[in-house]
């Protein structure tokens, strides 16, 4: 990137720091996870790594004994790994939505959250993709999936592979692009504020990755344009990923899998669980790295509204699915729905209905619970309940008896339902993947600033001038006093919404819109 060494010596004449926002100081906060090692850091990394190692051991056992070690059998051929594949790839959509959709709608309040959201997407997606390895019966032949002579273009699994790989690339680009302007800034901050081998290593990394950034108007224009473009592209890309994932199930004649609702259902489920995970990760990052001055309780309430919007849509889709399939009197559909509602799968299903169906709506509807704590609690429940819901989607149709005679509806003779048995191997691998997400995030934020400093500064300057007077400047900075402009910007609005568009026709991502409309939208 930085081919000429001049860039290293000459401090790039980046755009003058916006009035009121000290980018250097803000970078100090964002770089805290990089330069400081809190007391809890090594123990946490140790415990999480140990869990991952247990998962790897379990996988080795599965390799030796076959997929049967994970509780699979001929009448439960798909179960926990397939649910994990859907759930983990699903939660990665949360990062894309919080970042891309909020970027495109010019929601300025997103700014302090985007880096954490994008990082969450970046680490959950590969972890989810890795579930294809234990899912396969012969993982030693996984290379066949990338070997074009063997490709069978009519297979939904092959298209899953294409879609998810493309999406991974897009996620990587979407994480990297907004990071570029931060890198020279972070390098300069390190030069003045930190010493030691780690600081040197990070400075080298930042020069390699972002050394060419000088903040010229042309660079800024191109960057904003690219971010806008990727933000637009990543939405249909993610929709395609989750749709194609659902085709792997619905390219079948099984009741419960052969559902036209599946693509939409999977996309909305991904959005729902993804936003919930972003809430959890933002909450953790805020707490652990002391970002209280920048991430406000109102941010959580805002995300909470996003969460219930997807939650309500998902509840509605579930309702229509079970209503219509249950209403049809055909033996296969009726017996499948009965198994879920009152049969052997009633407990996980009703757990979903309560924890991720009704409760989030209630918590956000009641003013007393519509708080940071409420949203975080609900998000934790949603992440778990949506995983359970994926099990309810995957397992019952896979255990369904297909050879029952027409005269024995529900099947008591030929039609015995299969059973999936949870084993320690399958559970260990699942828990290991879950532990890998915070582990990877902790490691990632040892190397990149946790806040998108440049973006925050830009948005603060855009929004500050007109509204700063009207706002009671909440500069309740816990650790470092918030820059006045930023503090004013974030303290506005009933739900932590910073107004945008004070400068007519300009916005952070290079997309333009009438300023008055945006204001209306934001209030």
């Amino acid at each position: 990137m930085s081919t000429n060494s001049e860039v290293d010596q000459v401090v790039p004449a980046s755009a003058p720091a916006p009035a009121g926002v000290d980018e250097h100081e803000l970078m100090g906060v964002a770089m805290r996870p990089v330069v400081q090692t809190p007391r809890w850091w090594w123990p946490s990394v140790g415990v999480l790594s140990a869990i991952v190692v247990v998962g790897l051991v379990a996988w080795a056992v599965q390799l030796a004994d076959g997929v049967g070690a994970a509780g699979y059998n001929n009448q439960a051929f798909w179960a926990i790994y397939e649910a994990n594949l859907v759930a983990f790839i699903g939660v990665s959509y949360g990062g894309a939505v919080v970042s891309a959709i909020l970027r495109l709608t010019n929601a300025a309040w997103r700014a302090p959250l985007t880096r954490i959201a994008e990082a969450t997407a970046l680490v959950t997606l590969p972890v989810g993709m890795l579930f294809i390895i234990p899912h396969l019966g012969s993982p030693q032949k996984v290379w066949e999936l990338v070997w074009p002579p063997y490709w069978n273009l009519s297979s939904p699994i092959l298209w899953d592979f294409f879609a998810v790989s493309t999406y991974l690339l897009a996620t990587l680009v979407f994480f990297y692009l907004p990071l570029i302007p931060d890198l020279p800034l972070a390098r300069r901050w390190l030069s003045t504020e930190a010493t030691g081998r780690r600081a040197d290593a990070c400075r080298w990394l930042y020069r390699v990755l972002g050394g060419g950034w000088q903040g010229t108007p042309r660079q800024k224009k191109v960057l904003h344009l690219s971010i806008g473009l990727v933000a637009i592209m990543i939405i249909p890309l993610a929709v395609s990923v989750h749709s194609v994932l659902s085709f792997a199930f619905s390219s079948s004649s099984r009741a419960g899998y052969l559902e036209t609702i599946f693509p939409v259902y999977f996309v909305v489920a991904a959005l729902y669980s993804g936003v919930a995970l972003v809430v959890l990760m933002v909450a953790a990052g805020r707490r652990l790295f002391h970002l209280e001055a920048y991430i406000h309780p109102r941010h959580f309430v805002r995300l909470g509204f996003l969460l219930v919007a997807f939650g309500a849509a998902y509840l509605y889709l579930s309702f229509t699915e079970y209503l219509i399939d249950g209403y049809s009197g055909t033996t296969d559909n009726a017996s499948w729905v009965r198994q879920i509602l009152v049969g052997r799968y009633w407990a996980p299903f009703w757990f979903y209905v309560v924890a991720a169906g009704v409760l989030p709506l209630l918590v956000m509807a009641i003013k007393r619970t519509r708080t940071k704590g409420g949203v975080i609690t609900v998000s934790a429940l949603v992440v778990v309940a949506m995983w359970v819901k994926r099990l309810v989607i995957v397992i019952p149709p896979a255990t369904e008896p297909l050879l029952s005679s027409p005269a024995t509806p529900g099947g008591n003779l030929a039609g015995t339902w299969g059973t999936y048995h949870f084993t320690w191997v399958a559970i260990s691998i699942t828990v290991a993947a879950t532990a890998a997400i915070p582990l990877l995030l902790l490691v990632l934020f040892r190397f990149v600033p946790i806040l998108p400093v440049t973006e925050m500064a830009e948005l603060a300057t855009e929004t500050a001038p007109a509204e700063a007077v009207a706002a009671p400047a909440v500069t309740s900075a816990v650790l470092s006093p918030a820059p006045p402009g930023w503090g004013a910007a974030t303290s506005l609005g009933r739900y932590g919404v910073a107004p945008v568009g004070t400068l007519p026709g300009t916005s952070s991502n290079g997309l333009s819109g009438p300023a008055s409309e945006q204001r209306k939208w934001d209030r």
Binding site: V67, F77, G137, Y150, W151, L402
Partner: protein, 299 residues
């Protein structure tokens, strides 16, 4: 596709000596990185699209030629047009099945299968009158097998003689074919297979013995035995003569008791049906409906 032709045209003109006059200034220098990348992407997409389209066409074409008889389901002799010497099928006479499961046992013994790998399964059914009867279920050898197109690595294939087989050396074990089969006729090797002694044939799709761990297996009509004139194990070991191996080309079927029938006549006289015809799979197993009427027992 226009992009491809123009770019190859430019390449050809730059390799051959320019016939007259100076080379146009905006020749090769016009192809900057951006343009090169965009052309490459467009060409790749074009190639992929034509490839996929050709494959779809090809598939439709081939299924049209290998499915000559589903228009005349009860007249299987109409297989003119296919070059293969045989088109294998099965006839299962439910009127004489007593549910002894000798077929399953013989199959599992010959192929060294685990107990839950019932390549031919004998399913207990119940009539509307509450009577139990038995229905052997081998692989249906569908003319339009749903398991073939879903495999990401193309491990499933259909032979010219109408047999759907699994290449276990190719199978990666996604189990999506088990999802798509409406007859539950596919069985996975979730653990090490039953150890088998040295076999007369090498391990191949027509004789998948021993089974390979982590791959899918299914009934193959004992395909390796058919060329030497042997009938499948389930046919030869059925003490009641329930199961017939048939050939749609020669219009003949034979059971384990040596009874030979004229296929088309037998099927039409006995009102043969196919299992789950509504799924559009065009199975090649013909069932003669019944619930043990021809048995000596009072049922």
């Amino acid at each position: 596709m226009d992009e491809t032709t123009t770019s190859t045209g430019a390449g050809a003109s730059c390799c051959t000596p320019a016939p007259t006059g100076p080379v146009p200034v905006e020749g090769p220098s016009r192809i900057d990185r951006r343009r090169f990348l965009s052309r490459t992407v467009v060409s790749l997409f074009g190639l992929a699209a034509t490839g996929a389209f050709a494959e779809v066409l090809d598939e439709q074409h081939s299924s049209a030629t290998t499915l000559p008889e589903h228009a005349k389901a009860a007249a299987p002799a109409a297989t003119a047009g296919t070059e293969a010497k045989h088109q294998w099928c099965m006839v299962i006479d439910l009127r004489v099945c007593n549910g002894c499961k000798e077929c399953t046992a013989a199959c599992q013994k010959a192929h060294y299968l685990h107990e839950d790998q019932t390549w031919i399964d004998v399913v207990t059914m119940r009539t509307a009158a509450g009577e139990d009867y038995y229905m052997p279920r081998p692989c249906m050898m569908c003319e339009d097998p749903p398991c073939v197109p879903v495999c990401p690595v193309g491990a499933n294939f259909r032979t010219a003689e109408g047999l759907t087989l699994v290449d276990q050396s190719r199978c990666v074990g996604t189990r999506i074919c088990m999802n798509s089969c409406p007859y539950q006729a596919r069985y996975f090797n979730f653990s090490d297979p039953v150890p088998a002694p040295r076999q007369p044939f090498p391990q191949e799709p027509t004789w998948p013995v021993p089974q390979a761990k982590g791959t899918v297996g299914k009934c193959v009509y004992c395909a390796a035995m058919l060329p030497s004139g042997k009938v499948p194990e389930c046919v030869s070991n059925c003490p009641m003569g329930v199961i017939y191996l048939g050939d749609l080309v020669s219009d003949v079927a034979v059971n384990g008791m040596g009874q030979v029938i004229k296929l088309s006549q037998f099927l039409s006289e006995n009102d043969a049906v196919k299992f789950k015809e509504s799924y559009g799979t065009h199975p090649r197993v013909y069932y003669i409906p019944g619930h043990g009427q021809n048995l000596d027992t009072d049922q």
